[in-house]
């Protein structure tokens, strides 16, 4: 996009103004922070593009080569478009492409003196960070390279060694006692010799620097000491793409199945949420054991479910917070498998969560809990996207080589985004393992159906995956050992019914169910009859129902319900059956909820302390039995209430509230007064406008007049050369005092150009 512009521009803002809409759109796409909030004009856009924080963000997006080229631009200063091609080691085509991208990103622009990097870039490229050469910028009036070489050749060995030491140390050193301004013939020490030959240049504060042109000559005319233009190659091996797709589809299917299994399980018995919001290690271990996976694998599962909105914390039956499937889970289960997978895969792609950390400990030694809020990383999504993009760049059929594949991927990711933190090696590896578990990757290669998903076309991905998934089947094979085997994935509804009447013994591509007395009883408990179970079993089985299974169901049904359990508040018993009958039919006893269980036993739904006085009113003389059956006699308890809490608390709170309200009102009044005293003049520049003007002046090295309000509140005009703008203050050379000064930006009222 774009291409090197050949026309020079006075300012970056001018250059942006001249750009086509597409090129501007590309810039705003690549550096989204420039677009929010929408800038007023190109001036403000250029100003924002040069702001330090924005530049740092843009630098983080560069690969190693682009950083090297940008660094070279800083070192050589304003230059022709070809010079970076010479000073950066590597393929010229790649270097030229890097230059184009830097211009597209507005990190470099065409000034009248040639291509140059933004001033802020030079500050942001700290020595020691990736791609930075450590060379100082070339002096304004450099010695010719041939002359430098001649002087270098004439140096004494100690001086040469010192010079190279300074170069390696970042181009700056302190001179100590070395005298400045001595001639080559008077030089007594290596340092003085170098100073005399202008191979080191004195700076204020007793330091010397090694000018960029000298460094360039020392490095053989290059800023870089290595070839950054060739990205590390991924270690790959060949695999049949259909095998990759099958493996990935298998994983995708397994993921969906497991999520459904876990959430179904948690619908009935949700695990409690920790106070910190996570899932207890014990619950996670149990889950991992159930699913035959490890802890990070189980963590990934619940994290993805939560990210897809299928799982959240809510108050459980006992009021404590628990992890409970959401209502979206029901809608999810009703969809076809491929669509369910899409929901999970999209959620994973966009999730900043780090389930890979689960199972290890945080810096303070506490184990990481799955689903805990801290388990997220700001670069995770970017790393994941980058990893998948790199794999998508491989031709079909190429997969990561076993063993060496992932390290080479890490090295490549490091080249692509050298400024990202060190922990990225882990994150890349996680992206690969998690992607494999989710079925985006299979056997280390990107699945064919995942490609459209990465390009943003979910529907195409779903369609491609659906063709690879096994067809749901509608029958099982019943066997005499009381198992039922589903030789493939069952239809969702059927699988649920089977899970009710039989226990799942083994899951995977197929499922093995075992009928036990317990499982049959479970079905009876929720209201199935024995005939219904027989009917269901016969209807789903493709083989004859074995006789032992029929016996099992009948035997279990026969003993089902022989013991009846109910709720009662009190019982009444008497040896005199007629007394109980009389009581049961007493017109005033209707409200006591009496029910006859046996000739000599009644139960009541009325609590005993209410029941007793009511029975006495009805003329019965009951005695209370204690739990061991003995007669229990007690006088009524005396009633006491809890002392109410002190009321002063409320008064205190009222005072505080009143104070707060008056404070807010005061602030509003003050705001109103300021508004009314503000002059109506429209010529005044807006704060954003003055910032843009200042940045422009920094870039062009122009002199401007600023209106400034000093500490005493007096307003004055100052003639200044702005140097840098950062952290709310402007550093500029003040013409009146001929000194570099700092001005608070909020006190600058106007910025005016000086007429040329």
């Amino acid at each position: 996009m774009g291409g090197m512009s050949t026309t020079a521009h006075r300012t970056l803002a001018d250059q942006l103004r001249s750009w086509s809409d597409e090129r501007l759109a590309l810039l705003l796409h690549e550096r989204p922070d420039l677009a929010t909030p929408a800038p007023h004009d190109s001036g403000q856009l250029a100003s924002r593009a040069a702001a330090r924080s924005s530049v740092l963000r843009a630098l983080d997006q560069l690969n190693l080569l682009e950083l090297c080229v940008l660094d070279a631009l800083v070192v050589v200063g304003q230059t022709s478009a070809d010079e970076p091609l010479e000073v950066v080691a590597g393929d010229p085509v790649a270097v030229r492409a890097a230059l184009t991208r830097l211009a597209d990103l507005a990190l470099a622009w065409e000034s009248p003196q040639g291509l140059r990097a933004l001033t802020t870039v030079a500050e942001a490229l700290a020595p020691g960070t990736p791609g930075v050469s450590g060379l100082r910028p070339v002096s304004p009036d450099p010695l010719p390279a041939a002359e430098i070489e001649r002087r270098l050749a004439a140096l004494s060995p100690p001086a040469r060694a010192l010079l190279e030491h300074v170069l390696d140390a970042g181009g700056t050193a302190t001179t100590g006692t070395a005298r400045h301004g001595v001639g080559p013939e008077d030089a007594a020490t290596p340092a003085e010799e170098l100073l005399a030959h202008r191979l080191l240049v004195p700076r204020s504060g007793g330091t010397v620097t090694l000018p960029g042109e000298v460094g360039l000559v020392l490095r053989g005319g290059r800023t870089t000491t290595y070839d950054a233009s060739a990205p590390p190659v991924l270690a790959t091996s060949e695999r049949d793409q259909t095998v990759v797709d099958r493996a990935a589809a298998g994983a995708a299917f397994e993921m969906v199945r497991r999520v459904e299994l876990v959430l179904d399980e948690w619908s009935g018995a949700p695990p409690s949420a920790l106070r910190s919001g996570g899932l207890a290690v014990r619950d996670l271990r149990a889950l991992a054991a159930d699913l035959h996976t490890d802890e990070p694998g189980a963590a990934l599962l619940v994290e993805v479910a939560a990210a897809a909105g299928l799982l959240t914390t809510a108050a459980g039956p006992d009021g404590d917070p628990r992890w409970i499937p959401t209502d979206a889970f029901d809608a999810w289960t009703a969809k076809p498998t491929a669509e369910r997978w899409l929901a999970l895969a999209v959620a994973w792609l966009e999730s900043p969560r780090l389930p890979g950390l689960v199972g290890s400990r945080d810096p303070s030694g506490k184990p990481w809990n799955a689903l805990s809020p801290e388990l997220a990383g700001m670069h995770q999504v970017e790393t994941r996207t980058l990893t998948l993009a790199l794999l998508a760049g491989l031709p079909p059929g190429a997969v990561l080589a076993a063993g060496t594949g992932t390290p080479s991927l890490v090295a490549r990711a490091e080249w692509e985004r050298p400024r990202r933190p060190r922990t990225r090696a882990d994150q890349v590896a996680w992206a690969v393992t998690e992607g494999s578990a989710l079925g985006l990757l299979g056997l280390g290669g990107l699945a064919g159906f995942a490609r459209p998903l990465l390009a943003g076309d979910g529907a195409a991905a779903t369609a491609a995956l659906a063709g690879l998934l096994p067809e749901p089947i509608d029958h099982v094979l019943l066997q005499a050992d009381l198992t039922a085997v589903a030789p493939g994935p069952l239809e969702s509804g059927l699988a649920r019914q089977l899970r009710l009447v039989a226990d799942v013994e083994s899951g995977g591509g197929g499922t093995v169910y075992r009928f036990t007395p317990g499982s049959v009883r479970r079905a009876l408990d929720v209201g199935w009859s024995a005939a219904e179970i027989h009917g269901f079993v016969a209807s789903v089985s493709r083989t004859p129902v074995p006789q032992p299974l029929t016996y099992l169901v009948d035997d279990t049904a026969r003993t089902f319900g022989t013991v009846r359990v109910g709720h009662a508040e009190a019982f009444l018993r008497a040896d005199d059956e007629s007394a109980l009958t009389e009581l049961l039919h007493h017109p005033k006893a209707a409200s006591l909820g009496l029910r006859r269980l046996a000739p000599t036993v009644l139960v009541s739904s009325t609590p005993i302390d209410v029941l007793l006085p009511r029975l006495r009113e009805l003329g019965v003389a009951p005695v209370v039995e204690s739990p061991d059956g003995t007669v229990h006699v007690a006088r009524p308890d005396l009633l006491r209430a809890r002392t109410p809490k002190d009321h002063r608390g409320r008064a205190l709170r009222a005072t505080r509230e009143a104070a707060h309200v008056s404070q807010v009102v005061g602030a509003i009044r003050a705001g109103d007064r300021t508004e009314s005293t503000r002059p109506a003049s429209a010529e005044r520049l807006t704060p954003a406008g003055s910032m843009a003007a200042l940045r422009e002046a920094i870039e062009t090295g122009a002199t401007v007049v600023i209106g400034y309000v000093d500490n005493q509140g007096a307003s004055s005009d100052r003639l200044v050369d702005p140097l840098s703008l950062d952290g709310g203050s402007l550093t500029a050379r003040d013409h009146r005092s001929d000194d570099v000064r700092t001005f608070a930006v909020h006190r600058i009222t106007t910025v005016r150009d000086v007429p040329a």
Partner: protein, 546 residues
């Protein structure tokens, strides 16, 4: 999707659909590394276990072959984690090797130094190892060869034993194949064992394990020690060896409680070897009495713990284990693997039945309803008394009587656990009874009469569970058992499976009391039968004989 017969589950079980056209090929391909766990009528279940995978390694298969087989036959995608696990598990076998060093004797060697270091630091192997010879080799005390192998298996780094065997004292033994021939699978079993060095042959009861033993002896051509479960079984081994080999009466000795002979071929009982007096095993010297070239363990799944300990010292001799099932109720399959050797051969029961070498069986469970009075007695009984109460109900006697009546003229065994019950049954059926106190002479007389057809009905206790050859038995009725033991069920069924004349079907009845622990235990046992592919029926006691 691939239309294979195999479904690979994430819990490492393999489901094989037997009606699939490629099922037979698939079974052959997975048998070397997967353990057959259940073989009911439609879908067989195999399991991948570390032991199974190591068995495969020992037999010369590698991980790539295993993975390839799974991918070839699997109907659905194979879980990636499982493939990784297979490769990792198999790679653990043979990292450590037991070798014979020309100077230092027995040594433990490895090319993988970290593994060797890990093992050297393990507490379990401390004291078994001698001095470090070089970075990759450690001396091993010769007497610890077995213990070390056992310990290494527990650490998850099973050693491959290259240290070889002593030839033992040579003794000519030949099979005398007149009027009979070694069956194909028996030949294969003996060959697999011999080429593997040591190991276990798994064959169903009635499939002729004794003959496999004889064939192995003929290969070894050396003095042989045979360890069997009891005296009757020892006599049967002797008879069989006399009939099948060139060995004569004088060459075979019996070493049991009654007789103590040491001959070129000696048959000893576990019982006598594990007899302990004053804290020592006085009969242990038998193991060193001769320079044995081969040791045969009959019924490996019953091998008692002291025999394991003794076997640990016999690692330089060839060892053959024979069994119908590697299932051990005590879970010591790992010890069998490390001390006797890996599984060298097995064949599913149903296959051998299909070839006509063992008889088909019809398994029936008869349910008896306890009368109210007995149910009350049962309900209030102490838990430890309940099983006895339930399984010894008098109602069972009537059922046994009508079952016996429904198989007139067919040799019938009635098998039980409790002596009182057996005595009552013997009285009611007017049949002889064999129990623990019956003398060996009397037992042999009765068994002989049964085989000859002079006695048509025998009531036996658990003494008849093992290794007693009653080929003529056609009907077995079990009235009680030892708490649902699976291998007991296998053994009892095994009594019936010797091939019958005219290919008759054997009948196996189990009588249980409904709604009691008796039925629960029976369910456990029958699950085992169903898993072996014997579909069983359930009938109510009232319907018997109707």
């Amino acid at each position: 999707m691939n239309d294979g017969p195999l479904i690979v589950q994430s819990d490492k079980t393999l489901l094989l659909e037997v009606d699939h056209e490629r099922a037979a090929d698939c079974r052959k391909a997975i048998a070397p590394f997967a353990e057959l766990e259940r073989s009911p009528e439609h879908v067989h279940t195999y399991r991948l276990t570390p032991l199974g995978l190591w068995n495969a390694r020992a037999a010369g298969h590698d991980a790539e072959q295993v993975v390839d087989t799974l991918l070839t036959y699997s109907r659905y995608a194979v879980p990636h984690a499982l493939l990784v696990d297979v490769a990792e598990t198999m790679a653990r076998y043979g990292r450590l090797r037991l070798e014979k060093h020309p100077v230092h004797g027995l040594v433990l060697a490895s090319n993988d130094r970290p593994v060797l270091e890990e093992v050297l630091r393990a507490k379990k192997v401390a004291g078994m190892l001698g001095s470090r010879i070089d970075d990759d080799t450690v001396a091993v005390h010769a007497s610890e060869r077995g213990n070390l192998k056992q310990a290494l298996l527990k650490l998850g780094w099973p050693a491959e034993d290259f240290a070889g065997y002593v030839d033992g004292e040579a003794h000519p033994i030949a099979l005398s194949e007149v009027e009979w021939h070694l069956r194909t699978y028996q030949r294969e079993a003996a060959d697999s064992f011999w080429h593997g060095g040591s190991g276990v042959v798994v064959l169903p009861c009635g499939a002729g394990k004794t003959i496999v033993g004889a064939a192995a002896m003929a290969e070894a051509q050396a003095t042989t020690l045979i360890l069997v479960t009891n005296t009757v079984s020892a006599r049967q081994w002797k008879d069989e060896l006399l009939r099948r080999t060139s060995l004569t009466e004088d060459e075979i000795g019996e070493y049991s409680g009654a007789v103590k002979e040491v001959r070129p071929v000696t048959i000893a009982t576990y019982q006598v070897l594990t007899t302990k007096r004053k804290g020592v095993y006085p009969h242990l010297e038998l193991l060193d009495a001769r320079d044995w070239g081969l040791i045969v363990y009959d019924e490996v799944h019953l091998l008692p713990a002291p025999i394991f300990r003794m076997t640990a010292n016999l690692q330089a001799r060839r060892r053959l284990g024979l069994t119908a099932t590697l299932v051990r109720e005590d879970g010591r399959e790992g010890d069998v693997f490390s001390l006797i050797g890996p599984k060298r051969y097995d064949a599913p029961w149903k296959d051998i039945e299909a070839q006509g070498w063992i008889a088909p069986a019809d398994c029936v469970e008869v349910r008896v309803t306890l009368p109210t009075t007995e149910r009350l007695a049962y309900a209030t009984a102490e838990p430890e008394e309940r099983y006895r109460l339930a399984s010894c109900t008098h109602h069972k006697i009537d059922v046994v009587r009508s079952l016996v009546a429904s198989h007139p003229g067919q040799p019938t065994l009635v098998i039980g656990q409790y002596i009182d019950q057996l005595d009552e049954l013997a009285l009611a059926l007017d049949a002889p009874v064999i129990k623990g106190e019956t003398t060996v002479r009397e037992r042999q007389r009765l068994f002989e009469a049964f085989r000859a057809g002079e006695v048509g009905l025998l009531v036996v206790s658990k003494v008849a569970n093992f290794s007693i050859d009653l080929p003529s038995a056609e009907v077995a009725i079990q009235v009680s058992g030892s708490f649902g033991s699976r291998q007991e069920e296998a053994q009892r069924l095994g009594r019936l499976l010797r091939p019958k004349s005219e290919g008759k079907t054997a009948h196996f009845y189990t009588i249980v009391s409904r709604d009691t622990v008796d039925a629960d235990f029976a369910a456990n046992r029958q699950r085992f039968l169903a898993e072996q592919g014997y579909a069983y029926r359930i009938v109510d006691a009232e319907d018997v004989g109707a």
